[in-house]
């Protein structure tokens, strides 16, 4: 016996709507739960004082510093490489074997799990290059991790710049490089910054790749060769070793707010970028 199409349609829509609601509910539950439990703990004192007794008491100041410095360092290293790659792919070549190799490398790199980046960063930067558990090892590892994101978003942003802009620039006698620097990149900037912000967001929330490369020292770093602990790592250690549930919730709340803020900025920028393009 077959149901009339009208009823299968209604059933299907109901099921699909239910699934969508479950998805949204699950994701929102996580955010609301963490903020509900964590926000009461968060205060200026919590943000700007040092942890005591391994984080059982006190604040999260050094980990806040770690979560600012490490992503910035990662971005500072990844930005020239990523944007440079995007410029090369869009402005300097057609589709050739070389670009296929580059795209293949980027796609593969994007799929590698963060724990593998952690293993690699540990053996290569920490052990072989003798950088130790440090800001530098962590930053380099994160830079490799977010490189594909930056390449892709920059490439899209650059491709979105109308070809006419370049033609005008060429017709005025500008060379390719002058055109890139003075015309293409300024126009693609919001899109590129979106990619950078998404990269920063990923760095802030990363744990596995950071804990084996940047270490987990609770002291404020004095140089690029000092170990740092990020908020994500701090939260992991607090939660896993059961040091303090209260401080764990507080750290998680700050962590989530930071990531959401960074990602929201990215989307806002992208939105503005698209709005301007389609005008």
């Amino acid at each position: 016996m077959r149901l009339p199409p009208k009823y299968t349609q209604m059933t299907a829509v109901a099921v699909l709507a239910g699934a969508t609601l479950v998805t949204l509910a699950a994701l929102f539950f996580i955010i609301v739960f963490v903020l509900h439990k964590g926000l009461p703990v968060v205060s200026w004192r919590f943000l700007f004082t040092n942890p005591q007794e391994m984080g059982r008491a006190g604040g999260i100041f050094p980990t806040l510093v770690g979560s600012v410095l490490l992503p910035l360092l990662g971005i500072a290293i990844a930005m020239p490489l990523g944007v440079g790659t995007a410029v090369y792919l869009t402005e300097y070549t057609r589709e050739t074997k070389v670009t296929q190799v580059i795209r293949f490398g980027t796609d593969c790199l994007a799929g590698i799990p963060s724990i593998i980046f952690g293993l690699f960063g540990f053996i290569f930067f920490v052990v072989i290059l003798r950088m130790g558990w440090s800001l530098l090892s962590g930053g380099l590892t994160l830079a490799i991790m977010i490189l594909p994101t930056i390449i892709r978003t920059s490439e899209e942003a650059i491709r979105a710049v109308p070809y006419a802009y370049r033609e005008v620039s060429f017709s005025l006698g500008a060379t390719r490089w002058e055109t890139v620097v003075k015309v293409v990149l300024p126009n693609a900037l919001p899109g590129i910054v979106t990619g950078l912000m998404l990269g920063i967001g990923r760095c802030i929330s990363e744990t596995a790749a950071v804990i084996f490369t940047a270490g987990s020292s609770l002291r404020l770093p004095q140089s690029a060769f000092d170990s740092v602990r990020t908020m994500a790592v701090h939260f992991y250690i607090l939660a896993r070793e059961g040091l303090s549930n209260e401080n764990a919730y507080g750290t998680a709340a700050v962590l989530i707010l930071a990531v959401l803020l960074v990602n929201l900025t990215a989307y806002w920028l992208m939105h503005r970028f698209i709005a301007r393009r389609t005008k």
Binding site: L27, V87, Y92, I102, I116
Partner: protein
């Protein structure tokens, strides 16, 4: 003068552009250099098929971890795939555009929730529920699968949505003109046309689930044994690396790198399949969104 500078810039950019490939090569070389000699020394059979993991006594068998990764990943896909694909269909076909324009970015935004937070929610909310209602230790295959299933939802929804909205509107109109209902048009025409993109989203999600580490360490319990039920505590390949890396030395450390080699190969295979699936559908544009 000017000509030379242009050439120089082009060369430099080419070098920069090869950085991603170089990084990938470095990663592969160093993980394999540490892991493969050990793998050959112990014997791949022994390493992959023995259930005896006692690093202090020189026993290295990762069979339980392989089974655990498999169970947790499949479980996550059983939860994430139907929910994610259903969400993508619903958002594309059954709600007004403006609703989708709000909800899709929201879901992508939620992809930014750190995996440690997902894991923690699993520990404080999900595990006690499982312990109370289904028995067992709570931290289990089931808890891991549910947490990972939710974690991969943004990936599935985001990429599936792109695949579904890439289906030309004329396909839908054609089906509707023949008297099909909206749902008939969707499942008979649109889904068939978007199939390879949806499959790619699922395989990419699977890659993420296999590779996820911190969330799984927190919720899956980490016992080294072959699971007999979904309520058993298990340790995945990724968890095995992360848990012991902190103090491992010598052969033990090499064994963890060998675990990394296994993981690396599995993820590469999954990603290649996904890339191939997308390429077939969209030509050379690949997985670029």
């Amino acid at each position: 003068m000017k000509f030379n500078r242009e050439k120089l810039v082009e060369r430099l950019l080419l070098v920069v552009a090869l950085s991603a490939m170089a990084a990938l090569a470095l990663i592969a070389v160093f993980i394999f250099k540490e892991g493969v000699p050990f793998l050959l020394e112990v014997g791949p059979r022994q390493f992959l098929l023995s259930s005896d993991w006692r690093p202090q006594e020189g026993r290295f068998g990762v069979y339980p971890m392989i089974v655990a990764s498999l169970w947790v990943t499949l479980g996550a896909m059983l939860i994430g795939a139907p929910l994610g694909v259903a969400g993508a269909i619903f958002l594309n076909e059954f709600v007004p555009r403006w609703v989708m324009r709000i909800i899709k970015p929201t879901i992508e935004l939620l992809a930014g929730i750190p995996s440690v937070v997902f894991g923690f929610i699993g520990v404080v909310v999900l595990a006690p529920l499982i312990r109370a209602h289904l028995g067992g230790p709570g931290l289990s295959v089931l808890a891991g699968a549910v947490v990972l299933g939710i974690m991969v939802l943004p990936t599935v929804i985001s990429i599936s949505t792109d695949a579904i909205s890439a289906v030309p509107n004329s396909y839908r109109e054609g089906a509707l003109a023949l008297g099909a209902t909206r749902w008939q048009a969707v499942h008979m025409v649109v889904l068939k046309a978007a199939r390879s993109g949806i499959v790619a989203s699922l395989i990419l999600a699977m890659g993420r689930a296999v590779g996820e580490t911190m969330a799984v360490i927190m919720v899956a319990g980490n016992a080294v044994k072959v699971p007999h039920s979904v309520l058993d505590s298990v340790r995945t390949l990724t968890a095995n690396i992360a848990l012991e890396m902190g103090y491992a030395t010598g052969k033990h450390r090499e064994a963890l790198f060998a675990t990394g080699v296994v993981l690396f190969v599995v993820v590469m295979i999954l990603n290649s399949i996904a890339t191939a699936a997308v390429r077939r559908r969209f030509g050379t544009k690949g997985t670029r969104k």
